[in-house]
Amino acid sequence: MSPRFEPITGRYLQCELLGKPQRLYVEEAGRGIPLLCLHTAGSDARQYRGLMNDARITANYRVIAFDMPWHGKSSPPAGWQDTEYQLTSRDYVRLIVEVADALELEKPVAMGCSIGGRIVLHLAHEKPERFRALIGLESAAYTAPYYDLSWLNRPDVHGGMVCAGVVSGLIAPTAPAPERWETLWHYMQSGPGVFKGDLYFYMIDGDIRDRVDEIDIKRCPLFLLTGEYDYSCTAEGTLDVARRTGATATIMKDLGHFPMSEDPQKFNDYLLPVLEKIRAL
């Protein structure tokens, strides 16, 4: 009997990101149109394994997901010990473009969730010519802080447990228990201060409310998918972006803030028609 490997391969990419040498962990599966997937704040590319293991998706798409520097198996750049990680809009846009270049992807589709869903709006605004299409999951122009972020990184509170505790309610109550708890495990494994550093983008620097009207979906088609149970990026927030840009928006039943990892089967049923539309462009 041969080993039962999944179709996913994982490798380390040597590249320079934001002016620093980086050893970036990248997973991929499938053939066809490159689909570059962006994970949520304080998590990593494992969130997309449900896509990579779905032959309906990988038949026509080369699904690629990378751990951002500081996340998952992509270590922080050398010298990290003397810095405080803080993700900015400018660095995040640049990082995605540099990763796409390092992977030699020509006009990929980019799909991001949460912070990834927000940066997709920045990409639509600043770099529409670089992408075949953009897909925002849990995508809104702005989310105001609703708790004191300093709890996420202090020595007298377990960082992994508090990060998982903060996000646990964002998962739909209908999500299967194994997927729910694996989604939370990713948060429990995040490095100290990384989730908080990502939320600097999500709740402060990444506010794009004043530029949403300038997004031109004729230059790059934009699709939005949001879980109904997401109270961080709300359905209202997504529908507001759709109304202002003309993007196609779908509110997904029985899904929350992490659709691709909390209930992959349910999510993929929503994603497939979008991927078919993009294929037909």
């Binding site: 708790y147 004191d148 007298d156 447990m161 505790g165 646990s168 309610g169 109550p173 149970y229 109270y231």
Partner: protein, 121 residues
């Protein structure tokens, strides 16, 4: 409903284990009705209904009766499934010394949601 918290928490060995380092008293405020809940090593050892003259507690969760009733439904409606969803909508306030709460967040979320099990019976 709130009276059922000790029974459901103490019967859940996994939840008690998750809260094994918790030693505090917290308050639930339903409109102007106050309840103090004493926790030791993850078990609820005492539940005391107010009114109180000088209540001694670490943190308090405060919401209207209508909000708590929706939150404690076995399948809460959208927007009422989680404490943070209520806080974000300004339907609940979490006040006081939040350290025991935030450092045991997954534990307290299940303790506070325990009356859902009573409602489901």
């Amino acid at each position: 409903m709130i009276d059922s918290i000790p029974k459901h928490v103490n019967a859940n060995a996994d939840l008690v284990r998750r809260g094994r380092f918790v030693d505090t008293t917290f308050m639930i405020a339903i409109d102007e009705a106050y309840t103090l809940i004493r926790i030791r090593e993850g078990r609820v050892t005492k539940l005391t209904q107010g009114p109180f003259i000088t209540p001694d507690y670490s943190f308090c969760l405060r919401a209207s009766r209508g909000v708590w009733e929706k939150f404690w439904q076995p399948s809460p409606p959208l927007g009422f499934t989680d404490i943070f969803a209520l806080v974000k909508q300004k339907l609940m306030k979490v006040e006081g010394d939040l350290h025991p709460f935030m450092s045991n967040l997954l534990y307290f979320k299940d303790v506070i949601a325990a009356p859902r099990k009573e409602a489901a019976r």
